[in-house]
């Protein structure tokens, strides 16, 4: 089975909750029991419990009938049950109504109420281009633009053989231009995400096997259009693409097209295809409008690996290329992908610390190593308490947590005790776990930024720092154990961007709150009276990047602290003292007689209330001052090591050496 497909009913020992005795009953009766439980939970206002079972019902028997049942059952309590309303518009060239009905039910399994607007057949251009259209009035959060190749470029689909190479190019260029016009006008008039279906390639190109050779290329022509769409999406983050060919591959072309119903009812798809599109749309709806999930909390025994390490020993568990290990290996691979997508990973396992941790650290088949985990709970505490403390440690709401555990008792505990947590519906078959994680729509992101890609690493480094602080016992030995190096970095285009960003974003440790753009900073840097210092901090757990900024202004024989700020990421480690010592050193080399500065109090910078005073500055009635030779006494704390990437020397000719 592949990602995005629906999980078969067979994976559940019993579909009805907490009733293993029913597993012998035929599927239909299990479904009836499940429905009765859902109605009871809705009736008792246990909405998270109802949601869990609705998800199971939808995965087990998706379709129009189930969709109608779900909508009808939720309707009486909809306003309490649904946590949000999302407005979606569909601009289309085919019959999407059945998909829309499926989608509304699927959204209810995420506690989303959908308002749907479907534009008239093939009226997408009018709706977008007309400055007074129903689409504009609807103000969608998310719009799907789904046009079939046979609608927008029929000659590319059906008369390709009769086109000359020039005509093909003309058609391709016309379609690209059409799409560009639609995208531009859409952007001018409508906010919210635009999701465009790519054009499907042909299964039976006009030139047969010769299609792959360059002079024919029906699919190459279609590909060119899709490439142009990709380009548009790259330029504008509010434009996303839904890759139709990938979806067709997932479902199978044999179960996708319906050429006859396309002619009779403008319905180009079979029912499996519509379900697949519905599920894919739901992913976009959630990725664009929430609710997003940010952390996957995993159990270890019989979840990340096969077997119980405390009983079977490290040699007795499996997660490698064996029949017992493979399902778990695949799960670990899927989880690793989530990590690189910016989803944080955590462990919550009942085990002796050493037994489990040694496997994570050293088992040759383990893919998920310690550095991938942002938070780890390996102990014998109840799991609900552990999940609470994981959320606290990561400073993330419980509603961002997803819990994966093979043990139904633990699942049930979390579902009852922490209703905000999404509990994955893991049955007895480990082979289903990877799909279960892949099917969690809350892990979808429209785009993965560089910050997303770094997130796991930064959290994990933070965890290791905290562990070190616990191991060290007292503060000073902890600070020493960090092996912090503060490095003064030279001014370049890259560092100036970051420095400008810090002046704009830093609120808590910021003496003057002066905001500068890159061009402001470039002007200062070019002047011999100004000096910009950036401070980069690294320690044995990793690099924090540039986190401190000092901007100095020389006025005759005085040095003014124009800006002195530090990111709260490194607070409490004496970095600010090291930065100030660096300023003192600079003052000494410059031969000035005093350092002066202001403290501009804001509601948010109380962290630096007494900073200047604490370091010997005195207030002369208008400004804070530190005179020669007192600034010679400014010292770097002994647990920080200052490193200079360039010679710290006053500018004589206005340049940095």
């Amino acid at each position: 089975m592949n990602g995005g497909t629906l999980i078969s009913a067979a994976s559940f020992a019993s579909i009805a909750d907490g009733a293993s005795r029913m597993s012998d009953l035929p599927l239909r009766e299990q479904l009836l029991a499940l429905r009765n439980e859902i109605l009871a939970k809705l009736n008792a206002q246990d909405f998270s419990g109802a949601q869990f079972l609705l998800g199971r019902l939808w995965r087990t028997s998706p379709g129009a009938a189930t969709a109608a049942w779900i909508q009808r059952s939720v309707a009486p309590v909809q306003s309490d049950y649904c946590l949000r309303t999302t407005r979606i518009a569909v601009l289309r060239s085919f019959t999407v109504e059945p998909i829309s009905q499926l989608l509304q039910a699927a959204a209810l399994t995420e506690r989303i109420k959908l308002e749907v607007y479907i534009c008239p057949f093939n009226a997408y251009a009018q709706e977008i281009l007309n400055s007074k259209s129903a689409l504009l009035d609807f103000r969608p959060d998310l719009t799907f633009l789904c046009i079939l190749c046979q609608s927008i470029a029929p000659d590319l689909c059906h008369q390709f053989g009769s086109l000359s190479p020039e005509q093909r190019d003309q058609t391709v260029q016309r379609v690209i231009a059409d799409f560009q016009t639609l995208i531009r006008s859409f952007r001018e008039r409508i906010s919210g995400q635009l999701v465009i279906h790519t054009l499907e390639s042909s299964d039976s190109p006009a030139m047969g096997i010769a299609d792959a050779s360059p002079e024919h290329g029906q699919n190459a022509s279609i590909f060119k259009i899709n490439q142009a769409l990709q380009h548009e999406s790259q330029r504008d983050p509010s434009v996303s693409l839904l890759g139709v060919d990938g979806l067709i591959r997932l479902v199978g072309a044999n179960q996708w097209h319906d050429t006859l119903r396309w002619e009779t009812a403008a319905l180009p798809f079979q029912s499996e295809a519509m379900l697949a599109i519905c599920q894919q749309w739901l992913r976009f709806v959630v990725a664009a409008c929430g609710p997003l999930r940010k952390v996957l909390v995993c159990d270890l025994d019989n979840t990340l690996w096969n077997g119980i390490v405390g009983e079977d020993g490290a040699d007795g568990i499996a997660m490698g290329r064996t029949s017992a290990g493979l399902p778990h290996r695949r799960l670990q691979q899927v989880i690793l992908d989530l990590y690189h997508r910016g989803i944080l990973l955590a462990v919550c396992s009942k085990n002796n610390w050493d037994d489990a941790w040694n496997v994570i650290q050293g088992h040759p088949d383990m893919l998920l190593r310690p550095e991938y985990f942002s938070s780890v709970r390996i102990n014998w505490e109840p799991k609900d308490a552990n999940l609470r403390s994981i959320a606290e440690e990561l400073n993330i709401g419980l509603d961002s947590l997803v819990f994966l555990d093979d043990n139904p008792a633990e699942q049930s505990l979390i579902r009852q005790s922490l209703k905000e947590v999404r509990v994955l519906d893991a049955g007895t078959q480990a082979a289903d776990y990877a799909d279960l994680v892949l099917n969690e729509v809350g892990f979808e992101r429209l785009r993965v930024t560089e910050e997303d890609r770094q997130r796991g690493q930064m959290y994990s480094a933070q965890r290791q720092r905290t562990e070190a602080s616990r191991a060290a016992g007292n503060l000073e030995s902890w600070l020493e154990s960090l092996e912090t190096v503060v490095c003064s970095v030279p001014v370049t285009t890259v560092t100036l961007n970051r420095i400008a960003q810090l002046t704009q974003k830093t609120n808590q440790f910021n003496l003057t709150n002066r905001r500068y753009s890159v061009s402001d900073l470039q002007r200062m840097h070019a002047s011999e009276n100004w000096r910009i210092l950036g401070f980069q901090v690294s320690d044995r757990f990793g690099d924090n990047g540039i986190v401190g900024v000092v901007i100095l202004h020389r006025e005759e024989n005085e040095l003014e602290l124009d800006t002195f700020l530090m990111s709260c990421r490194v607070i409490g480690r004496g970095i600010e003292q090291t930065m100030l010592a660096n300023v003192g050193e600079f003052a000494r080399l410059s031969g000035v007689i005093s350092i002066k500065g202001d403290f501009v109090k804001t509601p948010r910078n109380s962290l630096c209330d007494d900073f200047l005073e604490r370091h010997g500055f005195h207030f002369d009635g208008s400004r804070w001052k530190l005179d020669f030779p007192a600034f010679h006494a400014l010292k770097t704390p002994k647990w920080n090591r200052m490193q200079q990437d360039f010679v710290l020397e006053p500018k004589v000719d206005g340049t940095v050496k």
């Binding site: 035929p26 599927l27 239909r28 379709g63 129009a64 009938a65 189930t66 109608a68 049942w69 009808r72 019959t95 109504e97 059945p98 009905q101 006859l260 119903r261 009779t264 009812a265 319905l267 079979q270 029912s271 499996e272 519509m274 379900l275």
Partner: protein, 86 residues
């Protein structure tokens, strides 16, 4: 789950879900006209569900000829029969 004698039961379950009716009120004689919600869109939805559940494809002629619950059941069993013969 697509045992022969199951077809009427499964079919009436689909209809009762789709239209919010009590399955006991449906008989093979119940006509499309007597259920106001059974419009052309819901007819399409019904056909799509039936096709997935029974793993069959109904022809346009078969789809157009369905005027009652009994017609639908017949269409399903005919389609299953012809699948078996192939």
């Amino acid at each position: 789950m697509s045992e022969e004698n199951d077809i009427p039961i499964q079919t009436s379950q689909l209809l009762s879900d789709l239209f919010g009716l009590d399955a006991d009120d449906l008989t093979l004689q119940t006509t499309r006209d007597s259920i106001p919600a059974w419009d052309s869109l819901q007819h399409m939805n019904l056909v799509l569900d039936v096709e997935r559940q029974f793993q069959i494809r109904l022809s346009e002629e078969q789809v157009a000829a369905i005027e009652s619950v009994g017609d639908l059941v017949t269409a399903i069993s005919n389609s299953l029969d012809s699948q078996r013969q192939n």
